[in-house]
């Protein structure tokens, strides 16, 4: 609870610090606030806490996901000063909005009442509409912002209708009451089933699962890259944590009403995400489709509820966040260097221009593809094990085939980086920037060698 309050207050503080017009002050305040929040979150480990009249329940599940998200945000904030170099206007506001969005994300993972889930999702999304359009004079950024706004609002409305129908049948918004209702009632009214289906559909929008993914590539491409990195990591992880928690606490006893839907979402995301990623020329768009295919893998954890699936989801989120931030970090520099050209060709000869960036990108791509000794391998391994334990062998086979297809487009980028080019102008970055990327890369390797550190947490 205190970590959420710290994040929110840091956000308000950043708004006021913006008047000082010193970019090092507000980045240091932001990172101090985030580290404090991370520490507060980690130190409340094992102390089950309910706050705000049972609106929030902060258990180990919530703390683990919150810590991953706060850590990912710290890495993104370390990238920020270099990304906003030369831009003075509205930077503290962007930091503050990122903070507010993170506060919403932390509420989403620890809800104990559907009211809190709704408020958390909105607190997370509304700043993002503005952030997606924060390049005010770029029409593409405007378009991304507007599309995100429309589809996210549509998802919110569907989500609310779902909550309302559930409330109408159960008579409470409280998670405990809803799960009690299903233990008592044997005959479930069909309106309630419609409500559950609507909730699943709205979460499908939020986590960009096929066939509700169509906004994601456009929004990811049009938004500023730093914001895309935030959307692809923190927002997605929060969405998954909330989705898993909602289904596992409220609707675990009525799997018939949502199991087939999740199955369909998962298989379609795997197939369409990977096939569409192959033919992309723009790297940012390719990463967007690859993020859709990762959604397919992460849905496996929801398919197979057992003691193992929560920790496999956590591990996958951690690995996915690290490699996504590293990939977007390198993309930002390359795109800036090549005068806004983000195609695969722009990466040619990166190994000559800046070997560190090339190594970071290679490891992050290998991790996304799921090659051993990177975290991505064990992420996929654990999530497959969890699915097999749940009895979903055939879907694991589809998953493995999809992962093999995925290797193709990740390798395309790696090959491009080590290709020879005539142009050998060095790419320079700031030390802070490289630190963030190296921390992410080293953690990918550590998590890949010692997976038990994370998998045994929850």
């Amino acid at each position: 609870m205190f970590s959420i309050i710290t994040i929110a207050i840091t956000g308000v503080l950043l708004l006021y610090l913006g008047f000082l017009k010193n970019r090092w002050i507000y980045i240091s305040v932001a990172i101090t606030g985030l580290i404090t929040a991370l520490a507060l979150s980690v130190f409340s480990w094992n102390s089950l806490e309910t706050s705000f009249s049972n609106m929030l329940i902060i258990d180990n599940y919530a703390i683990a996901f919150n810590s991953v998200m706060i850590f990912a945000t710290i890495l993104i904030f370390l990238l920020a000063p270099h990304y906003f170099k030369g831009i003075e206007k509205n930077v503290p506001e962007i930091y503050a909005l990122l903070m507010f969005s993170l506060a919403g994300a932390c509420m989403v993972t620890s809800f104990d009442n559907l009211t809190m889930l709704f408020i958390g999702i909105e607190t997370m999304s509304i700043p993002l509409y503005i952030l997606a359009g924060s390049k005010k004079f770029s029409i593409r950024s405007n378009e991304a912002s507007f599309k995100y706004f429309i589809f996210s609002s549509l998802a919110t409305a569907i989500f609310l209708l779902g909550i309302t129908l559930v409330y109408g049948m159960v008579g409470s918004f409280h998670v405990g009451d809803i799960s009690n209702y299903f233990t008592i009632t044997k005959e479930i009214p069909s309106i309630l089933k419609v409500g559950i289906v609507l909730l699943v559909i709205s979460f499908g929008f939020k986590i960009a699962a096929v066939p509700f993914h169509f906004w994601a590539p456009d929004v990811y491409e049009g938004s500023p890259t730093l914001i895309t990195a935030f959307m692809a990591t923190v927002v997605k992880i929060a969405g998954f944590a909330a989705f898993y928690k909602l289904l596992s606490t409220c609707f675990i006893l009525v799997p018939d009403s949502w199991h087939h839907l999740i199955l369909g979402l998962s298989v379609l995301s795997l197939i369409i995400g990977n096939l569409a990623a192959i033919k992309q020329k723009d790297v940012k768009r390719m990463l967007a489709y690859s993020s859709i295919s990762h959604t397919g893998f992460m849905l496996f954890a929801i398919l197979s509820f057992n003691s193992f699936s929560a920790s496999s989801l956590l591990y996958y989120s951690f690995a996915y966040a690290l490699s996504t931030i590293a990939a977007f970090g390198v993309l930002m520099v390359v795109k800036n260097h090549m005068s806004a050209d983000g195609s695969v060709q722009a990466f040619e000869g990166l190994a000559k221009k800046n070997p560190i960036l090339a190594i970071v990108m290679t490891i992050s791509m290998l991790s996304m593809a799921g090659i051993p000794i990177t975290a991505g391998f064990f992420a996929k391994y654990y999530i497959f094990v969890s699915a097999i334990q749940g009895g979903w062998l055939w879907i694991v086979i589809i998953g493995i085939l999809a992962a093999l297809v995925g290797v193709a487009y990740y390798l395309k980028l790696i090959i491009a980086m080590f290709a020879k080019t005539s142009e050998t102008e060095k790419i320079v970055t700031s030390p802070l920037y490289i630190t963030s990327l190296l921390v992410a890369t080293v953690l990918i390797l550590i998590a890949g060698v010692l997976p038990n550190l994370i998998i045994s947490l929850i």
Partner: protein, 126 residues
């Protein structure tokens, strides 16, 4: 005040009759004036009436949206007051805890307002 009487569709018959009468009157008069009135269109007659001044340009040209920010901010701050109503109704029952909650809520809201003032969102002469 409100008697719990069960209404049947037949109770709404007067409303239906009234709406038919209203619609019928409007439609009939509109058709009648069209049919009966003489039509002599000239250029002067079709022009916009501008108090004797000749019309120029398009009426739908864009104009300044200076008040847009203030209108939006009004909507936001106006709606936030909604949270004070449940607290005001249960003022005694909620006690000191509710008071602290509402004060912290108002403080956050005021900090947003202060930010807007400093940012110059209310400067008309900009």
């Amino acid at each position: 005040m409100i008697c719990a009487k069960v209404y049947t569709p037949i109770d709404y018959l007067p409303i239906m009759i009234q709406s038919f009468v209203v619609l019928g009157f409007v439609v009939t008069t509109m058709i009648a004036t069209h049919m009966l009135g003489p039509k002599r269109n000239t250029k002067q007659k079709l022009e916009n009436f501008e108090c004797g001044i000749e019309g120029m340009g398009n009426a739908r040209s864009p104009f300044s949206v200076k008040y847009f920010v203030i209108a939006i901010l009004f909507v936001l701050f106006d709606v936030e007051v909604i949270f004070l109503y449940p607290w005001a109704v249960n003022f005694k029952e909620l006690g000191i805890q509710g008071f602290v909650g509402v004060v912290s809520f108002s403080a956050l809201l005021l900090s947003g307002f202060g930010y807007l003032m400093l940012k110059g969102a209310f400067d008309w002469e900009k």
